[in-house]
């Protein structure tokens, strides 16, 4: 078995047992399902007509906002484990032992893969729970959505956006973990990034209200906010094909560049021996290797 896979399995195993992961990936979806089933058995279901009325309500943004929050947290939880893992391994000094057994490339790849598995589990759990919830609480909408190709296409797009969003955040947080000295410093800088991840979820009412605004277009294209914004606008069917393509292309290019740059700084001097580089040196390093 390739060593990157062994690292991936270890990252997966160690983080699967974490309380915050189990709560968000399993407990919360289970609670939601229980609520939904209780509502359905209590006779409370939503028809297509009711849904159309709700769309006109001021509070409708809560729907896409919830979806955005769920997927933002799913991306960010897994990516944050990357930051915490590297910072912890630096603190525990286990990095030297790991690097005496695997290459830096295998270590970074293994970590990204292992945490991606965790992220994907969350993604599929929430997609399944969401699908079951719609089927139970709004069967008319469920039939309409899933009888067309649209639903599969949407889930496929959501999957792509989720994976790219995760890779981007995971690579960025890995870089932060490498370049910071202490776990505290890493967490502080990582929290700044959380801000970007939550921008779409927190500004849903602006996107729902006027999805052709410059603000909505901008955060659809900006890589750090594009995965979740695109998901919201796809749900609301207020995004054009051109915007989807542009957002995906920008996201893909940015993700590739960030992953490559992180791979270049994932090395002994920065990872294990805390060598501080100036911004110029770092840029030189990333470009020239």
């Amino acid at each position: 078995m390739d060593k990157a896979v062994k690292v991936a399995l270890q990252e997966f195993r160690m983080n699967l047992s974490r309380r915050e992961y189990k709560f968000f990936a399993f407990v919360l979806p289970a609670v939601l399902l229980v609520i939904v089933f209780l509502m359905a058995f209590g006779g409370r279901q939503f028809s297509l007509a009711e849904f159309s009325l709700m769309k006109k309500s001021y509070y409708f943004f809560a729907f896409p906002s919830t979806i955005a929050m769920v997927f933002s947290l799913a991306i960010f939880l897994s990516a944050n484990f990357m930051l915490q893992g590297i910072a912890r391994e630096k603190e525990n000094k286990i990095l030297e032992i790991l690097v005496s057994s695997v290459s830096f490339r295998q270590l970074l790849t293994g970590k990204i893969l292992g945490l991606a598995m965790l992220g994907l589990i969350q993604f599929f759990v929430w997609v399944m729970v969401g699908t079951i919830a719609i089927a139970v609480i709004a069967p008319e909408i469920f039939l309409r959505l899933f009888s067309s190709f649209f639903a599969t296409w949407v889930i496929g797009l959501y999957f792509l956006l989720f994976v790219l969003g995760y890779l981007l955040y995971a690579a960025l947080l890995a870089a932060i973990g490498v370049l910071t000295e202490t776990r505290g410093e890493a967490q502080q800088i990582g929290s700044l990034l959380t801000g970007f991840a939550l921008v779409p979820a927190l500004s849903t009412m602006f996107i729902t209200g006027d999805s052709t605004s410059l603000y909505a277009k901008a955060i659809t294209l900006f890589p750090l906010t594009s995965p979740i914004t695109a998901m919201i606008r796809i749900f609301l069917r207020t995004i054009t094909i051109e915007e989807i393509v542009a957002s995906l292309v920008l996201l893909l290019i940015t993700t590739i560049l960030v992953v490559l740059a992180t791979a270049r700084i994932f090395r002994a001097e920065t990872l294990m021996y805390g060598k501080k580089f100036s911004i110029r040196e770092l840029v030189n390093f990333i470009i020239k290797g």
Partner: protein, 301 residues
């Protein structure tokens, strides 16, 4: 065939030479001491051997060639700063690290149990590392270093933080591993331990090689710089002596580095003193180490 060949390596950090023109060979099956004070460059040399960092100049060969992914599986490394995953069990740590060295799960488990038994930690196998004392964690980490039966072992300060019993245990382990045919690099500033178990040594100071060779030869080359004399008569002033501890009928003399003991004997005889005993003392590695470091300081000044 030598296990490690280091040829004229240089490594600088921010214009400070951490290692400068160091060359040495480590023969297969020997215990090689890499000695020196803190900041001498020992850890840098180890990182260069392990290919964590690259030399600015020079060449290093490990186990017959350039360091590769395959070489990693044949090397066991115990770093100076210890670390295992704190929130998983000792056994899980050992199995994971053994897996990264290419071992299969079944073989790794069997070997892990045997090693834990050897260091007295068999009952602790299922406990989380954060529940162990510092000494136990270090012993657990030594097991992680040995589990894949590597051809080359590198121990960086293996005795630090250990009580005398565990220090003795680690010495025994090193001797047993040597008997099993492994090559061992022991980096330490604990000269007494090094003297007891090393076959050959390399002493580093300020990134440069200051002593190199068999422990006995190194000690013999410094033997002539300490003399014990028993005498009758009045002890004269002697030239070429750094320090003289004179009592009624005996004196302990520390000679300057360039002083020949025969010259001291001639001075004593010429002064009329009756020499009853003239003993050229063997210095310990520790005393040699202190001398060399002080001499370098003196030369610098």
């Amino acid at each position: 065939m030598p296990s490690v060949v280091v040829d004229d390596i240089f490594k600088a950090y921010a214009n400070v030479e951490a290692v400068s023109g160091v060359s040495f060979k480590i023969e297969e099956g020997e215990v090689f001491g890499l000695l020196g004070p803190n900041g001498a460059g020992k850890s840098t040399i180890i990182r260069l051997i392990l290919d964590f960092i690259e030399p600015d100049k020079g060449k290093i060969e490990v186990l017959g060639g350039k360091f590769s992914e395959k070489t990693k599986e044949q090397v066991g490394y115990l770093p100076e700063e210890r670390g295992l995953y704190e929130d998983i069990t000792v056994m899980d740590n050992l199995l994971y690290l053994a897996g990264l060295k290419g071992m299969n799960a079944f073989g790794a488990r069997k070997k892990a149990i045997a090693l834990l038994e050897r260091v007295g930690l068999k009952e602790k196998a299922k406990e989380k590392v954060n529940a162990l004392s510092k000494g136990m964690r270090q012993l657990a980490q030594i097991c992680a270093t040995l589990i894949h039966e590597p051809a080359l072992l590198i121990f960086d300060e293996p005795f630090s933080g250990l009580d005398p019993n565990n220090r003795e245990l680690v010495k025994q382990i090193i001797k047993q591993e040597k008997k099993a045919g492994r090559t061992i690099i022991l980096s330490t500033h604990m000269m007494n331990e090094a003297e007891e178990i090393c076959d050959r040594v390399l002493m580093i100071n300020n990134g440069r090689r200051v002593l190199y060779g068999d422990v006995e030869n190194v000690k013999n080359s410094y033997a002539s710089h300490s003399i014990f004399v028993e005498f009758e008569g009045s002890f004269p002033q002697l030239s070429g002596v750094e320090k003289a501890d004179v009592r009624n009928n005996s004196a302990e003399l520390s000679l300057r580095i360039d002083t020949d003991p025969q010259g001291i004997l001639r001075q004593l005889v010429d002064s009329g003193v009756i020499v009853r005993k003239f003993d050229v003392k063997e210095l310990s590695l520790n005393q040699i180490f202190i001398r060399v470091v002080e001499a370098e300081k003196w030369i610098k000044q």
